[in-house]
Amino acid sequence: MPIVVDGKTFETDEEGYLANINDWVPGVAGVMAKEDDLELTDEHWDIINFLREYYEEYQIAPAVRVLTKAVGKKLGKDKGTSKYLYGLFPYGPSKQACRYAGLPKPTGCV
Amino acid sequence: MSILHTVNKSPFERNSLESCLKFASQGASVLLMEDGVYAALAGSSAESQLKAGLGKVSIYVLGPDIKARGFHEDRLIAGIKVVDYAGFVDLAVDNDKVQAWL
């Protein structure tokens, strides 16, 4: 179902991931979060931005345990835990945060 | 009758280039594209085959396919000309027909 951000329509796939990663604007994350009844904080944005950088460098949306490991390395050990990440993104840190970040569905998430 | 031959298979996997060079007439043009561009690399086991071919035909290689695979012109066998897509079109137009070696 396409989503509308500031009057502009964005195509998504059947699971709600943005059809074209290059279309992404920060407002996309806001609208998606609102649909999930989630208020985005700086901590959420740290992960969303981290995922966009990760994709830019490796051309892949990481699986959740890869994300956890990479976040721990980049943003500090206290943040590289399932507990912390699930606290932020209850629907699955990688799946949900990748969707907000405009990335495809993570590779290796089962 | 001039012919542009295209080869899009790796010389290490198939004999497309070998057959092309065997049957192409003197002075024909051969364009290496897609996985066929690997034949243009200097220092490989296909080098002597290609060098022998240079004495018989003009050999071209598609630049975007070389770049996509991580190589630059400095890795190519001397005497091979690099063309872009516009150059490919020119070659097709300048010859009477195009023959593909798949």
Partner: protein, 136 residues
Amino acid sequence: MSEVVKKFMYLNRRAPYGTIYAWESLEVVLIGAAFDQEVNLMFVDDGVFQLVKGQDTAGIGMKNFSPTYRTLGDYEVKNIFVDADSLAARGLTQDDLVAIAYEDMDTEEEIENIVEVVDAARVTELMDESDVVFSF
């Protein structure tokens, strides 16, 4: 986890972009990495071209998936082998290939490059030791 750990080998013999095999293999490896098996990646014949660094596909309108090989360490794939003869036959050396890093999160030991160039006898040995070989 009480499952028996099997040794899987992914045997890569095709160049990237000309056919879909290289990308399919990489996807299967990344998805399969979730299952905690012992994985060996083997690159022989034209498969060695998959690891050539500096790939730039902007001109051919295809996705450049070569940067993704560098995440294999993050996916806990830590055994990556390249057949020396295949490299030499293509005029390549290890300097032409990407480096893939691996960090053990428990010991914090970091290996700068887990890509290992091996001789034919070692390739044979690794194949013999595998429980399953997936060919691409």
